[in-house]
Symmetry: C2
Subunit: 469 residues, 2 copies
């Protein structure tokens, strides 16, 4: 294997992305069209994400459950908008063994209807509320064109589904989960994100309001990296879910759902990685350090390993019989935040070389300073990666004064454009037809002045638009 | 809800089992026939199991991956015995959205063929071996009759798949994983288990040797609670997997697979639970303690919670406005190992009442002694539960001198029977026809003396037989 055989990121971003996914051993393909194999490193990154998010969900009172993976067609049909949104892209099971099923079932594309059917059985009184459930599972959407992590027929994800006695409580939950996603992505994935409400056109099939997490990739494209929906009483009414309130009257509860997926791994790659391969933020890297022993270094290696273990810093040692140069390249491809070159010759001079993956900077320290330097670097790298990503993103957000400038900017400058918008789907469609850009999310905390940049009518809001994955 | 409305275990074991699953809120049903909903307590138990096993797998060098959930029919067909074993019980996906698939795909009933296809791509040299993979996922087998946790169309499980350069190494792996299962079930689930090789007739479709974990339930029925297979080069040859050995020659690697499922939750229930509901061994209970405050006890409650937290003892507090009697019953149904009745009146006399779930024994201790007593009890309960289960099981294993006694024992005494067996499938079938008992596993470390208890020919081995779930 030629480790560094990765397409240049600035020449062909799409090919570069696939190269990184393959060369870093994150994924592989199989004869199952549209699905991917997530290999050990890719899955270990997902496990880190699951671990942190699951803890945050539990801290905020959520419980995990597991629903069936199949949905009978009649159950999917209960909520009209929902079925229209999902029916075209589901996989249908029609046979069990040799027997044709009386009713075909799809593999869940999302589980709202399954949760609602269950809620109907277990919600009776205000004492049963709120009901705060989450599920980690695989869903299926029959996509035509797929790309590793970004768009796949099978998706690993979590889906939260909650029921509340009041509208206010449900809306607060929707925003709470949006913030958990935002904080997780900024703090752990070092990905700056924009959050806000989706337009009517772009919201989830069946939702009253959809909030989104929008990250900007290195090439200026948007990645929707999580959503949090407020359903109101929409599904609850369709399913006849009611509870007896404190005044002994029947009421319909208010609902939310929220989810994020392995797509975040794609976002991670397209935000931070480079021409040498994967770059992982320390806080989400399964192994923070790779040690490459050069020459006879058994004793110092043992000592270093012990120090790392005692400080709960995960690491790997490359003991293979490849050349140091090859090992360095491979350590870079796989994105270990810090590489420690533990060389016999260096050690004689009381030196150890550390290499930052994010900047490839070489740092030579005295043996006694290795551990404190590693600790310091893990924090510095995490912060620097976020800062660099944020700076780049902020430089790629443009404001335009009229529609001509909008079209020109869309055609020449990768990134997001911030515009005044009247709120009409007509203008949204026009932008899409002319530029392939869609609205990303409404900007809620900025005063709106002036006219819609498309039609000239009074603007109702500011909104980000951008091309998307 | 009437908490204690559970069928008597000695009157109708099957109904008792379903009652415990339902009343302890472990599962619920839905309109998805044959699948179950795993509710928060049931799923939390599974999470504990996953957590411990996953750590043991990783400590022994295994890496997690995620394969596709679908298998194209042609891929399933590659290994003949395997497809014959599984094709009758798979769910077939035939449509993606509105389009009929060119080739139908089943939802994985197990993933040998997917792993093999991947191995073929990634194994080239002896340096790539051993390859030690594991996958946590859901599988589907189209069962006709289902029971919560024991037999379900959808099963949560893990499946380990490994490839080795030598036969010896692969066989050692098979036994290593069998032992990990055994130790886990005995140490954490407090379930004594018998391990051994399956007969030719009972082994896995495609395996050379299948080792099994056999537990005996309260009613004397066997539960196969995990299996570890040695495949030899069977699949590897069918898939054309080869590697270059140290002498630069092409060789075929040796393979294993091993799995255990949510069925272990069923085993846990049928081993330990009683007429008051669930009984959980402390080491697998998601919450070790339930605190029931009675009267004004805010300060001592806060103090107790702090003590438990500091000692990493998970707990719940029942702060609902139900009566203490109702709360006690509910705490019993849900199987918390220790119930702490924190009563204002008791506290005035410097007393706190602890109740063991396994024996329902009440223990009154001074306030200062609560924490040490809890710690002590958690260990004592775990050990006592194992000892009781083992004693019961050992008393329900019978030896018989002839076939008449075998038939009489099988008809009158629940449990396992240990017999001399010639090893022929003919005798195995006769036993099954006459008693519904199947061979559980071969007994390898006992000398065989005498004749096959069925046909009178020389015995080749001792074997356990029993009725099974």
């Amino acid at each position: 294997m030629e480790v560094k055989d990765i397409t240049n990121r600035d020449q062909d971003f799409a090919k570069w992305y696939t190269d990184v996914c393959k060369k870093a051993d994150l994924v592989d393909y199989s004869s199952v069209k549209g699905s991917m194999i997530i290999r050990p490193l890719g899955y270990a990154i997902w496990e880190e994400m699951v671990h942190v998010l699951d803890q945050k969900f539990k801290e905020t009172g959520h419980e995990n459950v597991q629903m069936p993976m199949f949905i009978p067609e009649s159950l999917l049909n209960v909520e009209k908008e929902h079925v229209e949104g999902f029916a075209p892209e589901v996989a249908w099971v029609t046979y069990g063994g040799k027997e044709k099923l009386e009713e075909r079932m799809c593999v869940r594309p999302t589980s709202e209807v399954l949760f609602c059917e269950h809620y109907k059985k277990i919600i009776h009184s205000y004492r049963d509320l709120p009901l705060l459930y989450n599920q980690w599972c695989t869903i299926v959407r029959w996509e035509k064109t797929t790309r590793p992590f970004l768009r796949s027929r099978e998706i690993l994800w979590q889906e939260g589904h909650t029921m509340h006695a009041t509208k206010e409580e449900a809306q607060a939950e929707t925003l709470q989960m949006l913030n958990i996603y935002k904080n997780f992505q900024e703090e752990y994935l070092a990905m700056p994100v924009i959050t806000g409400k989706k337009s009517e056109k772009e919201k989830f099939a069946g939702a009253e309001e959809t909030y989104t997490i929008e990250a900007m990739m290195y090439d200026g494209y948007a990645l929707q990296n999580g959503t949090s929906h407020y359903f109101g009483q929409h599904f609850a009414k369709a399913f006849g879910i009611e509870f007896v309130n404190k005044d002994n009257k029947l009421e319909t509860p208010y609902q939310t759902s929220w989810g994020c997926t392995t797509r975040m791994i794609g976002g991670l790659i397209m935000t931070h990685s480079d021409n040498n391969g994967l770059v992982l933020p320390p806080k989400i890297a399964p192994w923070k350090v790779i040690i490459i022993p050069i020459g006879e270094v058994d004793e110092p290696l043992k000592y270093l390993e012990q120090q790392l273990k005692e400080n709960h810093i995960t690491y790997k040692v490359d003991n293979s019989n490849k050349t140091p140069g090859f090992k360095f390249a491979e350590a870079e491809v796989k994105g270990y935040p810090i590489r420690i070159e533990l060389g016999a010759r260096d050690l004689k001079e009381n030196k150890v070389t550390l290499v930052r993956r994010d900047t490839l900077e070489k740092i030579t320290v005295a043996v006694a300073k290795v551990l404190p330097k590693v600790k310091e670097l893990l924090e510095v790298i995490q912060q620097d990666m976020f800062n660099r990503a944020k700076e780049r993103r902020d430089q790629m957000i443009y404001e335009v004064k009229d529609y001509e400038e909008l079209k020109k900017t869309a055609a020449t400058k990768p990134g997001f454009i911030k515009i005044n918008w009247c709120g009409s789907e007509e203008c949204e469609n026009k932008i899409k037809d002319d530029t392939t850009m869609k609205t990303r999310c409404l900007i809620e905390n900025e005063a709106v002045d002036g006219a819609c940049v498309v039609c000239g009518r009074p603007a109702f809001t500011k909104v980000y638009i951008g091309k998307q994955y």
